[in-house]
Amino acid sequence: MVEGGGIKLEGVSFGIGGFTIEDLSLSIRDGEYFVLTGPNGAGKTILIKLIAGLLRPADGEIKVRGAPITGLPPWERNIGYVPQDGVLFPNRSVCRNIRFGLEVRGQGKDQMRQAVERAADMLAIGHLLDRMPAGLSGGECQKVSLARALVLKPELLLLDEPLSAIDEDARDALCRELLAIQHETAITTIHVSHNRKEIELVADRAAVLKDGKITDIMDVGRKA
């Protein structure tokens, strides 16, 4: 384990509407599969967005692998973000969705094609590459969204309730897939969920968030 590796939140404070997060500190190990859970309105999505850079903390520091990222805009943080419902760009095909980040980085066509194919293989969505998002199921959308984030080889992966739109049976299978990918890539992962079974399947550790405060951190030791 790298000293100072992983993610560190130190004294992070944030307020919006009537809701506040005050002086929150959290430490996640490098390569860990960490689950964030808690009731609705606890601030899980806000915390994810703070880490992603979509929200700016009023106070405190966020570090990834020892390097502070608090002042960086989201496009300069190498963080993969998979929102609830996938949020695929509706005007782009699955293939063009996945390679969006590569386009922005100015990669060549061949390079992009190979990277997309690799990501698609990893998630078994190669047959969907030419489809438009409107025709995909909930689970397929989530997989494409995941591929879109993973293709950029992020240092950290943020999954905001990735399985909420998926039915019970498919959920288990997808959980195992997520875990397998995380093992293969060794990316530090923060997964937001309030499904007990999910937590037990994937998590190394889990934190319970309530009213903007971490009330408990548990060693889960997943059953997978």
């Binding site: 850079g53 979509l54 805009p73 496009w75 929102p83 760009f89 005007n91 922005v104 980085r105 984030a149």
Partner: protein, 270 residues
């Protein structure tokens, strides 16, 4: 009617369709009235002089230019209004409705008065000796833009409003900065609104007359647009010739609307 609603309650559907049918019938009757009154002589008279061709050219060029300019301004304006809460936003939003609500003639008077102030005089006659706007074709574009842009902003802002912010959030996490996000994610997904904004803007300004008369006059070959020609023709009693020009305006409008509706994609505008 398409069979996508229940096959029960058809009577209710027919009831709802009645006002639509009545309104359509009214529009068709008005248009038919114009076309049925036109005589071959009137057409020959109208097209016998170069004035009408010049007026058509000027009308089309200025209205298209103004509509494009309106969209160019409405895109950033609509985005800022849609995405940001800033002090004075309510006032800005209300002011943008003024060109829609005020009679165009009042807007025209305001333009005249402005160009008679010290600042206005410098802008109009200080930069170019012959004048930039008053009694000049560029004044037509200015007046059309003032009226048309407000319409474009309304429609385009609504387009941005209906675009989920999360697309932009995700794009930023994928490495796109604000400008790239705007170009690659926001704009492509609001194209129907951009087209609708441009078309509504154009439709409003194509027939605009009162304020243009005030600001630019009725000079044949210089500031005469099609509505002006209608005014001039009726003023010397050539009503049928005026109707020919009116018919031209109807045809140009129909053609433009059809083209934009087809090319705009997704089969609807607003």
């Amino acid at each position: 009617m398409q069979e996508n609603s229940a096959s029960y309650g058809r009577g209710f559907d027919r009831l709802l369709a009645a006002p639509l049918a009545a309104y359509l019938l009214l529009i068709v009757a008005l248009i038919a009235g114009v076309f049925l009154t036109i005589t071959r002589d009137a057409i020959a008279q109208a097209f016998g002089e170069p004035a009408l061709f010049n007026a058509i050219k000027l009308s089309v060029v200025t209205s298209v230019a103004s509509a494009l300019l309106s969209v160019a301004v409405a895109v950033p304006a609509g985005y800022v209004l849609s995405r940001h809460r800033f002090p004075g936003r309510f006032l800005a939003d209300t002011l943008l409705d003024l060109p829609i609500v005020l009679p165009p003639l009042v807007m025209g008077l305001c333009v005249l008065i402005f160009f008679n102030t010290a600042v206005g005089r410098w802008i109009d006659r200080g930069l170019v000796p012959g004048g930039l706007f008053i009694y000049r074709p560029l004044g037509i574009v200015l007046v059309q833009f003032i009226v048309g842009c407000a319409f474009a902003v309304r429609v385009i802002k609504a387009g941005f409003d209906s675009l989920d912010r999360r697309y932009e959030e995700v794009a930023m996490t994928l490495g796109a900065n604000r400008a790239q996000t705007f170009r690659k994610v926001v704009l492509p997904n609001v194209v129907p609104s951009l087209i609708a904004g441009g078309v509504i803007s154009w439709a409003r300004i194509f027939g605009l007359f009162g304020p243009i008369l005030l600001v630019c006059g009725t000079m044949r070959g210089r500031t005469e647009i099609m509505p002006t020609t209608i005014f001039l023709e009726t003023s010397i009693g050539r009503i049928e010739v005026a109707l020919v020009i009116g018919a031209c305006m109807i045809l140009i409008s129909l053609a433009t609307l059809i083209v934009f509706k087809r090319l705009g994609g997704r089969g609807y505008l607003w």
